[in-house]
């Protein structure tokens, strides 16, 4: 299966990426009795200089995918390529240089800074780890520069995290991420824990930094409105797999997958008239457990448009026109047939 996301210089790409967490039996033997398929066969390309928004509801595996791309969790299967090198095959030294070039901004700014270390030393950590800007003076100068870059007073380097507000802390987290001059930044729900007024500030900061430094972002979020605002392209995840990828305008304006449509219809519109006239798609039931994934199409248990091929053919993420990819049979049945015994059971083993 080949995925062409349509041109552009690809910086990060995943092929058949799986992250399964073993479920073990209780007792002494602790046999593996199953697996939580947090990420289950993801193909994704992230182009140099773009912002790829990754949306989906909680538990769909988007954060795990972000972590797996940076190899902060070990993939169970599949490959991740970063700027031409296979991340999954890196040795200790290679991994260190990856850690300089590909970084993460975390969700909770209250938990992501060590409370016992002055923020200046937190920002300096990547410099120390990678031996950049050696010498106390050069480091202090670089830290001041970084703090200024994210809109903080360089004089605060000696202060501790509890002396800052949430938005300021997130700026410090961003300064730490950028210290080693990375190419790729995974923003893992980076604005979810912030006040709405501060969210906009941090989003604008991230955009400014992207222009200034030529960064590539994977913007992981459950907030579709924010993702639409910052992203060049959007990928939609459901139950461990990517169900739709396209430009922000394509995905938001003309969604191809029923799940994307349902997600979009749940985003509030700030106009009572438009809100009233809008069709709302309310999905039936709950998200199935990632330890018991339905056979064929994962979304079929909740899909309003389910039909015959859905349980027996796993839909491929295929081009549905203009480079917009969707994994749905409504646009032509494309995909692999599910083995008979799996189709019989109705879920993956």
């Amino acid at each position: 299966m080949t995925i062409e996301n349509g041109g552009g210089d690809v910086l990060v790409s995943a092929r058949g990426l799986k992250v399964h967490f073993p479920v073990r039996s209780k007792g002494l033997r602790r046999r593996q009795v199953g697996a939580v398929r947090a990420v289950d066969g993801v193909d994704l390309d992230i182009r140099r200089g773009e912002t790829l928004g990754l949306v989906g509801e909680s538990g769909c595996g988007k954060s795990t995918l972000g972590n797996a791309l940076l190899r902060l969790v070990e993939p169970t299967a599949g490959t991740v390529t970063f700027d031409g090198t296979d991340v999954t095959a890196l040795d200790r030294r290679g991994l260190r240089s990856l850690r300089r070039r590909a970084v993460m901004v975390f969700q909770d700014p209250y938990a992501s800074l060590d409370p016992r270390i002055p923020v200046g030393r937190t920002v300096a950590e990547p410099l120390e780890v990678h031996g950049l800007h050696p010498g106390a003076q050069a480091r202090a100068a670089r830290v001041a520069e970084l703090l200024e870059l994210v809109g903080l007073d360089p004089g605060v380097a000696g202060r501790y995290p509890h002396e800052f507000s949430g938005g300021q802390r997130q700026r410090i987290g961003i300064a730490r991420a950028l210290a080693g001059e990375p190419d790729f930044v995974v923003c893992d729900e980076a604005i979810a824990s912030l006040d709405v007024s501060v969210q906009a500030q941090v989003l604008n900061l991230l955009r400014r930094l992207q222009r200034q430094l030529g960064l590539t972002y994977l913007f992981v979020s459950h907030d579709l409105a924010a993702v639409r605002h910052v992203s060049d392209r959007i990928a939609v995840m459901y139950l461990g797999s990517v169900v739709e990828v396209g430009t922000a305008a394509q995905v938001a304006g003309r969604p191809r997958h029923p799940y994307t449509r349902a997600l979009l219809s749940a985003v509030p519109v700030p106009s009572p008239g438009a809100e009233r006239g809008r069709e709302r798609i309310v999905l039936r039931g709950d998200v199935p457990s990632a330890a018991a994934v339905p056979s064929g199409c994962r979304f079929r248990t909740r899909c309003p448009d389910v039909f015959e091929p859905c349980p027996v053919v796993a839909p491929a993420l295929a081009d549905r026109g203009d480079g917009q990819l969707a994994a749905c049979h409504l646009h032509g049945v494309v995909g692999e047939r599910v083995p008979a015994d799996v189709a019989e059971a109705g879920r993956l083993p």
Partner: protein, 321 residues
Amino acid sequence: MSAAADAPARGRALTAEVPRWRVTLGLLARTPTAAAAALVLLTVVLVALFDDQLAPAGPNDVDVQARLQGPSAEHPFGTDDLGRDVLSRVLLGAQVSLRVGLVAVGISLVVGTLVGTLAGFYGRWVDSLLMRLMDVLFAFPALLLAIAVLAVLGPGATNAMIAIGITYTPVFARVSRAAVLGVREQVYVRASRSVGASDARLLLRHVLPNAAPPILVQTSVSLAFAVLAEAALSFAGLGIQPPAPSWGGMLASGRGFLEQAWWMAVFPGLAIFLLVLSFNLLGDGLRDVLDPQQRSAMEAGRRRIRSRGKAEAAADARGAA
């Protein structure tokens, strides 16, 4: 107005130049209980160093004629059943008790924290192996284990310290493992790993400092237990060998004369009490001073809080721009 805003800023610039440990000491000195405790400990250390000069009589100057005398000008702490001066013996015993406490707890602190930290940080089989070893030690009654160790090593002061150290090692292993387990999953540890920090760096820079408070508390509690354990071992004839004075040994032998000569037990007991209390208070003070959040609450005058509000508003304004 502007002068008031400038003053704290200058104060901050000053603290930035003063080394961290001196600021820490300064804060500690301003905590009354910790300062008092440190003073008592300093006194005990001085007594231990200069006990020869301080003691009015030799520790083993037996005067059977003057036995079991109450406190008087000649013998401020009275005399014991052999007519020895209790004050002199308490002064000379300081060194023994202090050394046993510090060395024994030092052994269990270093070994126990190392074991517990590795077990908690690496988990899986490292955890199972190390902690089951600790459980074996933990399963024996403390005193019985110490006696067994002394049976192998032979009686004596040094071996008593080792025995007590081994006995308290599992306690430190458990406390530090639990603390490390809690810290290991913190986002800031993951964040540090995500920028490429090595395991050693994670442990030394982030995990241990954040896991330290319960270990520090355990240390001050254990110092107390170690001094008492030495007493018990000496009582059984396995620790400090008589007639050398030790507070524990004196307390134990004074017990038999509690009705005729309360001073025999009370003065060494008071000495132990003071030492143990000081260790505990100093431990508490240290824990507070080393916690940045408590620390800035302590550093903060009202002026500082006002100026911080201003600095934050200014930084927010910069962010918005």
